[in-house]
Structure formats: structure tokens, C-alpha cells
Symmetry: C2
Subunit: 96 residues, 2 copies
């Protein structure tokens, strides 16, 4: 199934910026970065739980926001894109 | 239906920052801001087309990215949230 992962990480301090990098690094192992804080991941149920657990172990639940959208298996007609296609290098530091 | 709108706007210059504010201002008229660049909007087909046209008239297609995810009418079980719930004031300037 396609799982859309979106996040807002509070990057006011160095710890926040580190969390941001760690989250992106995890997500990129499982899917495609389509925007700065948006990943599309093709996951089965076990992978999804694993990724969720990893991300939850990284975020600061009082400062960061993490959302999962489950788009199912028939997702092709559920997505529309406009504008440029950004390409992000996951190994680069993410400064938002 | 629930439409998820996500965007990346190139804010390298003042024009970009203006586009970012304009996009947020449009989206907030139609739905709820759930993260910095993520809106959930309950729209019928006509509203969706209208909002899409408005947003497309704002973005710079060579610099910005705009994505729509159509989550349908049965969306309650398709969304999971973790961490803090941010509250954004749409009238505030958005500096990312």
C-alpha cells in the first residue's frame, strides 16, 4: 500500500535539526521524497509498523508533528502533481 | 471528499515568500492546516477545481511544487497523527 508521510519538525535548536535529518534518513530508506517534508512509501503492513516505530523513536512528541496517510493499493488516480519535481539528496543536511 | 494539499514553495526571494503566503491564504479558506505546508480540505468536485485553479494561478510552476491527494469520503481510518498539533495563524507571515 502507499503510505504518505508528512512531518513538521521543530528545528529551533540543534537537536531538532538532528531529528529532522534522522527522520528524512529513515523515510528515504522506504520511499520517495516528493517534497521537502513529504515522503511516499510503498509498504506492507509489517514495514509500515517498523517505520512508524522508528520515526516515533526519533520525534519529540511535544515539539514535532508526524502524520501518516494510508492511500491503499489503488493510489494512481488519487495523486495529482503540479509544478516542478524537486530532487532532494537525502545525505545532505536539511535546513528548512 | 477529503483533499490533502501539500506544497513546497521556493522562498529564496521575496516573490517566493509572497507566493507562499498567498497559497496558505487560499488553502485556509477551504480547510484545516495540519502542518506547515499541509492542508486537509473537505471539498466537493467544483470547490476542488476552483481551489486548484486558484493555486495554479499563484505558484511558479518552474520553482514550486504542489500536490493533491484525494482521500475520498471515507477518510477517517486513513489518517494517523503523532506528536504535537500545531496551530498556525494564517494571517501571520510564514517564514520557513
Amino acid at each position: 500500500m502507499l503510505v504518505l508521510i508528512t512531518y513538521d519538525v521543530n528545528t529551533a535548536d540543534a537537536a531538532g535539526r538532528r531529528r529532522l535529518r534522522q527522520i528524512a534518513r529513515q523515510c528515504v530508506n522506504y520511499g520517495q521524497r516528493v517534497q521537502c517534508s513529504v515522503f511516499e512509501c510503498l509498504l506492507d503492513s509489517a514495514q509500515c509498523k517498523l517505520l512508524q516505530a522508528k520515526l516515533l523513536s526519533i520525534i519529540d512528541q511535544e515539539k514535532d508533528s508526524l502524520r501518516f496517510y494510508y492511500l491503499g493499493k489503488q493510489y494512481e488516480n488519487k495523486i495529482e502533481h503540479f509544478g516542478c519535481k524537486s530532487s532532494y539528496l537525502p545525505e545532505e543536511p536539511l535546513i528548512l
